[in-house]
Symmetry: C2
Subunit: 566 residues, 2 copies
Amino acid sequence: MTNRKALTEYVSAFTHSLVEQGVSDVVISPGSRSTPLAYACMKQEGLTTYRQIDERSAAYFALGLAKASGKPVMLLCTSGTAAANYFPAIVEAFYARVPLLVVTADRPHELREVGAPQAINQVNIFGSHVKWATDLPMPETENQLAFLTRHLHRSVQNATSEPRGPVHLNVPFREPLRIDLEQDYVSNHEIAHLGGERSLNAESRTFLQQLLKKEKGLLIVGEQTQNMPKEFWTFIEKLDWPVLADPLSNVRGNVPQSAKSLIIDSYDALLKSERFKDVVKPDAVIRVGPPPVSKPLSLFLAAVKPETYVVFDESSMLRDPQSVATHHIQAAEKNLWQLPVENKSPNAYREKWTQASHLYWQVVERHCQDELDEGVLAKVLFDRLDHCDLIVSSSMPIRDVDTYFQTTERDIMLYANRGANGIDGVVSTAFGVQAAKKRPAYLYIGDLAFLHDMNGLIASKMQETDLTIVIMNNDGGGIFSYLPQSQEELYFEELFGTPTGLKFSDAANMYDAQYLSAETAEQFAAALDEPKTKPVKMIEVFTNRENNVTTHRKLWSRFDEELAKR
Amino acid sequence: MTNRKALTEYVSAFTHSLVEQGVSDVVISPGSRSTPLAYACMKQEGLTTYRQIDERSAAYFALGLAKASGKPVMLLCTSGTAAANYFPAIVEAFYARVPLLVVTADRPHELREVGAPQAINQVNIFGSHVKWATDLPMPETENQLAFLTRHLHRSVQNATSEPRGPVHLNVPFREPLRIDLEQDYVSNHEIAHLGGERSLNAESRTFLQQLLKKEKGLLIVGEQTQNMPKEFWTFIEKLDWPVLADPLSNVRGNVPQSAKSLIIDSYDALLKSERFKDVVKPDAVIRVGPPPVSKPLSLFLAAVKPETYVVFDESSMLRDPQSVATHHIQAAEKNLWQLPVENKSPNAYREKWTQASHLYWQVVERHCQDELDEGVLAKVLFDRLDHCDLIVSSSMPIRDVDTYFQTTERDIMLYANRGANGIDGVVSTAFGVQAAKKRPAYLYIGDLAFLHDMNGLIASKMQETDLTIVIMNNDGGGIFSYLPQSQEELYFEELFGTPTGLKFSDAANMYDAQYLSAETAEQFAAALDEPKTKPVKMIEVFTNRENNVTTHRKLWSRFDEELAKR
């Protein structure tokens, strides 16, 4: 794709997307850097263009337009102090709550802060007087149109949701700035925005009710920090779609017997099999909660590109890094459970998933008898838990849960810090969860994450607690062994393995915690069964990093073979 | 003082101070909130006022004025979008490097962000396009004029130092806004700014040469991270003023025999004695480096208010929290050592200090034989050190150095984190110092600070090191015992004592460090003398918090008694 073609597509998608979302007016101030978008605005059907030489006047004019029409108005100017001249009207719009889409053209990064003419620092230039600001990517590569239209979608949502206000989009362009006025633009990157603030509007309800009639549908449940309401269980039993339950969905625990076959807890493993993926392509997907941990699932969805992929997200920041969603419903997910749904059980599509899942757990059973790795050990833990909470660290532990935590009626809830996926502060978060729930809590954590927040143990000296900490000590950053760079021996251990040679019995002594260690599944089971004698019980499990990788892979290929036999 | 009087004084000091520093032009845009300053500008001698209704034009006009005159120009506007209209010209001034003092009047804090008219968020409103921004205090109380004039001083210095540029002062006013036009203003809060960028100008040289002729002079040396040059020692020997050497000045170690009587290492203790303070009032003070740790010293200077108090500080942020300095020389302190100075030794004033200091160390000797506290133990450490570096944590350890570290010819340098005085990260900083200096290092640290950065010990696993860590374990926040709230028993231990009951032998085990402990001076000395067998040697000294306070106080009263006998 030539630069000009990419540029033309980018700005066409830009204006097209805004019009799709109800923007009908743009106020343009002349300038060079904004040329591509200015042309696109002129060409765009459904967009009325106004011109005003002085950007300050332009912005105040747009404010009047937006105020009276009740619709968001786009402003477009070139780079430099042009942007600064918008400022007074932006401040007014912020406090008067008037929706503006302030688009400032900018120099490319290599011309910023080097004394180039009309190049000032435009990133976040309006500070706390816009509701949201973003610095968009340069129009250079393919595949960025979906990202662009989602950002525009977010901008309009942000500007028009209460309290309404201005939003700033900074758009860098590199020369040459001429677009191809003959080039057609076919929109295929739009995402539909349905549904209102807290409850669903009529359009969303109708749309969803139609969708729920489909047979080949998937319901994906991401992290939930509270138990699902009863309506959820009634809803999924009637719907009879496979429910792909993220480790943090908290619908793998406390599961009614009648719903057990609906909860697919093994999809992370199942979707590693090409064989299986081929036969379970969905027609419709609905997701609630953040994107699941599972990489095979996100790869599957990105490859399949379901015709309809609805995401419930109350924020204008749609969590959809692969840009696969087709519909964004900005409303609380509880609205979904309240929709009427015809009973379509038994659903043949769902049964395919249930059977594969059943087979998977048979393979796991045998695997656990033959092999020893962190996952096998983790399962020893998971199978014992009841009337308690389990906190897991990022990196490998959360993935072990994905692979080895089987749906259960037992009363157990899971927590992890997946907002930013840090390995810091997990010990302290576990103490916090326990303090809120006031029942036994278990922390399942790797050695590096534990080391990171060892200071958190001091909480046990300051307050009552009941925490069992299971440390998987593989002497370093286990997850890196799964990454491509692990093939390169040079520098690998220094940079990624970060072996510390530390053992944590001393930490236990220091904080007066009960300490046990284990190397086999039997030893680990015995350590778990050992009565708890202190507020904090620490079980250190010594494992082998390389072994973890090979046995994990063995499990997956074993399952694939079994599947082939069916 | 009535509100009107305070308001009048405040704005009079404001304009007076700017004129003193060479501002001769102000561009005023009419508005209500800026009324007090607008009147003060009109009344101010030496200030030419221009008026311009449109703030955008006003700012561009001021830009032209400043550009052509080469002098900083003041802008004054009311609250609200008036400020936002300055933005284009401010951006231009920032990149064109033109000095502007942008003064925006603001509502008082209780009218911000509550929907009051013309009240927008003006704090840091110009973002990264001003060199510096500050939100000034309301004109309400006495004693804030010195703070105000120093801030104005800093503003002008900042705007006019290379690269020059705009500076923003946000000034809140509460109604009523009328000032008393008859009220006279006598400036007595001005600080003189002398001297240029890196070297001294002629004015500074002449001024300093006169000053150095005085007998009753003090040279205060704050933190230095490199050894003083030879010129320093020659300079102070001729000058023969007492040199008050902060623990981090690094002129208490590596001291030539000939200079030993000049270095006053005991001033923190001496200046606790009212008797002594009465007889050593200085006529002149020169300080280099940041303000010393010693609270008695800063109280002494604030009470004495020396006629001339010169501070060398290369930054426009003058570090002078009590506003005692009379002259700010914004130049490198090495210029001072290069000035010619007549030999006035022996100086009777200096000898008073030397004798008192001598007496102090005699009292300390006896005290160390009779008592046992952290300071006494610290002296055991300090007296042994040679060819090494000593890192000390904030809070009590740095104060122990102030009280017990005696001037020595031995080769020892001291380091601490006093930029923000945090207790975090000290262990890691010590490893960093050792890695740079590549010779044995000692860390002298309290138990809380050690706990805070225990993770830092992992450095010993990653790189070569040679560190001895002395932990003063008094089970909690020792320094709080010296504060007034320690008299209030209720909640004190929970809130301030923060006892953890931790012992650190386990930490030593975990990180494979050599571990020794001590409770008496003899045991501690033996532990220090014990050969080092690991990269990290840890000596934990168990002390008693309450005892530390009482024996410290005993030392000071003992010294005062001895002084009375002379």
